[in-house]
């Protein structure tokens, strides 16, 4: 009694089965997905976003480790990258998708992305359940920065039926960065 001796075969079978299932999905799938070449669009996103994931150098997700750009003679963190970070931090992706699906969505939200469009991006935040419009091409549909600023401050002032919550608590520079990110999504 005790011990695992009589379960040797079972343990080996379990590990082999589980490893095989993981190899077929994570292994083969991962190798395939890892070989997709980056598109021009993906490279442009990489330049703006930098690393969007939470990092120890930016614990409050304020965009402190986004790439630097020159704006009016000053070096600042790229507002598009900062905007994406705020998009992740505020959980916008819990309602807004960044993925017009390959089935019917393209008629309404525009072209679905190519596989290579995501290379170098993490997290991709392509979204969960869509309680709100897809944003992949929002910059083309709504190119006005002023509209986005107003919409984030008080969504119902521009769309009375909106159920989006107000983001009036965000500091002005963060709201500007978020709007910059929105209009960058062409």
């Amino acid at each position: 009694m005790g011990g695992y001796k009589e379960y040797k075969i079972g343990i080996v079978m379990f590990l082999v089965t589980f490893a095989a299932a993981m190899f077929m999905t994570i292994g083969l799938g991962g190798i395939y997905l890892g070989q997709i070449p980056a598109t021009q669009h993906a490279l442009e996103k990489q330049v703006h976003y930098g690393l969007s994931a939470w990092s120890i150098r930016d614990p409050l997700m304020k965009g402190w480790n986004q790439p630097m750009v020159e704006k009016r003679g000053k070096m600042i963190h790229d507002p598009i990258g900062v905007g994406k970070k705020i998009f992740i931090r505020e959980g916008c992706w819990h309602c807004h998708t960044l993925l017009p699906e390959q089935s019917v969505d393209w008629e309404y939200f525009g072209e679905p992305p190519l596989a290579g469009d995501f290379v170098g991006e993490a997290p991709t935040v392509i979204g969960s359940d869509r309680k709100a419009p897809d944003l992949m091409h929002i910059g083309s549909r709504m190119p006005s920065k002023a509209w986005h600023l107003q919409h984030h401050k008080d969504p119902r002032s521009v769309q009375p039926k909106s159920i989006m919550q107000m983001f009036d608590f965000l500091p002005m520079d963060e709201r500007r960065a978020l709007a910059d990110y929105m209009i960058s999504l062409k």
Partner: protein, 473 residues
């Protein structure tokens, strides 16, 4: 008797399980309450605007920050902790020995509680990894893998190692396998946090994790708990160990493979989608094996369904798995997925699995184990029945409201309806969801009260190992 490795540290057997069950139920109450709060923000987005009390906390209680907290608290606070509570209670019971280390178990649960508090604060502060079901930042991921999953695994495996029974019962296979599988699953979900994995590979790992935290952790352990509670309460022998084998091996073989079906609309290769879709339908094999086994185990004892609250919850949860699994198996095929993907239908389905199936079985186990651990009758059978009906009616209403809202969204997608009109059309259902959600939340607070009173003021039971029926009023 070789119990030299066992360390009791002056703690009564069952101490770790008691801490675990009570902590888990507190997280259940908090987690569902936060869920209710997020649902209010969808139904009435301006609800808290202009309330000065919010002040600097306005950002912390924004929808996008409370929603991941709801998920984290119910998934890792309630469901997973109740699983480990069940392991700390059932593993020694089935191995006819003591838990390897009560002290380690108590440490495990309190480190877990501390971890959840830190996780909740970090999420409210906006530190979010941006990956659904895996929202915790990587330092907390490492903490989860080592001090939460790691310690629980050591304790359960060492307990089985020193068992005093000849074989290992089906519940224990599932416990042990699931602990290994949840470690791997959580690790794969955390890989994009820990290593520079990007692009579709990142998305794929995230959704593989989101699928398998259910497939390889919540489904098998819920079933394992039912495999213990149902035969124990009814006094019947498990209907078939062979069917149990079928259940176990098909879970290990098929349940992890359909991760890609969450990305049916994404530009991943067709072969991955087809493979995921076909293996997704095969999930019906383990789930039907489990349901059959449980329902046939109750043969001849169906009258207990109305008299024993543990069985009532456990069997309701098991029967919920019938529609749940048929829905799950077929909604991920391409013929249906394009229609309902990304709608409230999916939210309803997720709650079906976590609330309808898993939580019901765990509540059954909690009533059973708490009565046993404290050697007392459940304080109030009436309250337990009220809890049952609040949760059941609340859940069915909740699910119906969300499913209907999902169908509205889906048809809006097909007919190219202006998006905002769809949002407006689903509003009454969002209000309905909040109301039924409140019903569920009230039920859980009654549950906590009932358990607290059971532990402190329940009628003591003196028989050493009386049948479970004794423990109910």
């Amino acid at each position: 008797m070789s119990t030299a490795t066992a360390t009791y540290e002056g703690m009564k057997p069952g101490t770790a399980a008691k801490h675990a069950f009570f902590s888990a139920v507190v997280w259940l109450c908090l987690g569902t309450s936060f869920g209710f709060f997020t649902s209010l923000r969808i139904a009435w987005p301006d609800l808290l605007n202009g309330v000065d009390v919010m002040g600097p906390l306005a950002s912390a209680f924004a929808f996008g920050r409370v929603r991941p907290m709801h998920i984290t608290l119910v998934l890792f606070g309630w469901i997973s902790m109740a699983f480990v509570a069940a392991m700390y209670y059932m593993t020694p019971a089935l191995c006819n020995c003591r838990l390897w280390s009560e002290k380690l178990g108590v440490w495990n649960i309190w480190l877990w509680n501390i971890g959840l508090v830190v996780a909740a604060i970090s999420l409210l502060a906006g530190a979010n990894s941006g990956r659904e079901y895996q929202e915790l930042i990587w330092p907390i991921d490492v903490y989860v893998l080592t001090l939460i999953v790691g310690l629980a695994t050591i304790n359960v495996f060492m307990t089985v190692l020193q068992r005093r029974t000849q074989g290992i019962y089906i519940t224990i296979w599932f416990f042990m396998a699931a602990l290994v599988m949840v470690f791997m699953t959580y690790f794969i979900g955390a890989i994009p946090d820990l290593f520079p994995v990007t692009g579709l590979n990142e998305a794929y790992m995230v959704w593989w994790h989101a699928h398998n935290i259910l497939g390889l952790w919540i489904t098998p352990v819920s079933a394992a708990i039912a495999y213990y509670v149902v035969p124990k309460v009814t006094g019947n022998v498990l209907y078939s160990h062979k069917v149990g084998h079928l259940h176990f091996w098909t879970i290990v073989a098929f349940y992890s493979t359909p991760g890609a079906h969450h990305l049916m609309g994404a530009p991943i290769p067709e072969w991955m989608k087809s493979f995921a879709s076909v293996s997704g339908v095969m999930i019906l094999i383990p789930s039907l094996a489990f349901i059959t086994n449980m329902v046939l185990t109750v043969q001849g004892k169906w009258h207990m369904f109305s008299s024993n609250v543990s069985l009532q919850f456990a069997i309701t949860g098991t029967l919920m798995a019938v529609p749940l699994n048929f829905q799950g198996a077929f909604q991920q095929t391409r013929a249906i997925n394009w229609y309902i993907h990304g709608t409230h239908w999916i939210v309803a389905h997720a709650h079906f699995a976590l609330l309808g199936f898993s939580t019901f079985i765990e509540i059954g186990a909690t009533y059973y184990a708490v009565a046993k651990l404290f050697q007392r009758k459940i304080y109030s059978g009436t309250l337990a029945t009220v809890h049952y009906w609040l949760t059941t009616i609340g859940f069915i209403g909740f699910w119906t409201a969300l499913t209907l809202a999902g169908l509205i969204q889906a048809s809006g997608k097909v007919y190219n309806t202006t998006f905002i009109d769809v949002v407006y059309a689903t509003h009454p259902y969002m209000v309905g969801r909040s109301l039924f959600g409140l019903t569920i939340v009230l039920g859980q607070w009654l549950f906590l009260y009932n358990l607290y009173k059971t532990a402190t003021a329940g009628e003591p039971v003196t028989e050493k190992d009386a049948p479970a029926t004794v423990y109910y009023t």
